[in-house]
């Protein structure tokens, strides 16, 4: 009974996407689009901020991260950190440079830049097994 209630609660909970992107205009555009299709979105400007969000125990269902970012950890490093500390969290990496092979090896999905926002949302929904969502 309790587990049924828990799974129903899980099914109706708003999914949370952590967008990790150092360019504010790209980050804001992606985040706004994802909010409009119904996700809770947390914005991080680099991998260190993403790690801080996980440390705060904020609920995260999926990470959508750029690969090339300033700081000691890039997107591929972030994928490795997530695999070590939060296995089960899905990651989609993006980059203007083709990193499809590296991303594939890391277990993350890859979406090359420039991407259409609707395509990003579709990939996220697909990984989270969410039904396709319309922009509000």
């Amino acid at each position: 009974m309790l587990s049924a209630m828990a799974s129903q609660e899980e099914a109706t909970r708003q999914r949370a996407v952590l967008v990790v992107e150092d360019e504010i205009l790209i980050r804001s555009a992606v985040a706004e689009f994802l909010r409009n299709v119904g996700y809770r979105v947390i914005e991080a400007a680099d991998a260190a901020e993403a790690v801080a969000i996980f440390a705060s125990r904020t609920q995260i269902d999926l990470v959508f991260s750029d690969i090339n970012m300033p700081g000691p950890m890039d997107g591929l490093g972030l994928v490795r950190w997530i695999a070590d500390h939060h296995p089960g969290i899905q990651v989609i990496l993006t980059s203007a440079i083709s990193h499809a092979r590296s991303a594939g090896r890391s277990g993350a999905g890859f979406l090359p830049k420039p991407y259409r926002l609707a395509e990003a949302a579709r990939r996220i929904a697909s990984l989270l097994n969410d039904p396709p969502q319309e922009e509000a």
């Binding site: 504010i24 205009l25 980050r27 804001s28 400007a45 969000i53 904020t58």
Partner: protein, 138 residues
């Protein structure tokens, strides 16, 4: 609309650019402002403000932490905005003592001292919007 009402004071929502290097503080205040109906951009440095203001996005208010890394701190950014973008209002926030004295000529009410309540941010925003709305046109 009363200045302490916790919602945007105009029919079209104001756009707030929150510049805060601590992601947990930034996330909390940005989420709160969105829940109040504002459109919110989130940034980390003064360079983010310059970038956003270089586009077609209209920003009404910049809520900025005094202590920033990069080319400008919050004080310098407020001064730059006053010179280059006088239509943009600024609310400074700070965890450091004495900031109010330093900010006296930049921000009429002085910086919001941390920890601040998100509702206090909205109250400040509404005061600024009301002041801007009722100011004589140049």
């Amino acid at each position: 609309m009363a200045a302490d009402d916790h919602s945007p004071s105009e029919t079209s929502p104001s756009t707030i650019l929150v510049i805060e290097p601590d992601i947990l503080v930034r996330m909390t205040i940005a989420d709160y402002l969105r829940s109040c109906g504002y459109k919110v951009f989130e940034g980390v440095t003064a360079d983010d403000v310059v970038t956003v203001l270089g586009t077609e996005h209209k920003i009404d208010i910049v809520l900025v932490e005094v202590l920033l890394t990069g080319s400008m701190d919050g004080f310098a950014l407020a001064q730059w905005l006053r010179e280059k973008h006088p239509a943009v209002d600024v609310v400074l926030t700070s965890g450091i003592a004495k900031a109010a004295e330093q900010a006296a000529d930049l921000c009429d009410e002085g910086p919001l001292e941390k920890p601040y309540h998100p509702q206090e941010v909205v109250r400040r925003i509404n005061i600024l919007r009301e002041r801007r709305r009722t100011a004589p046109q140049a």
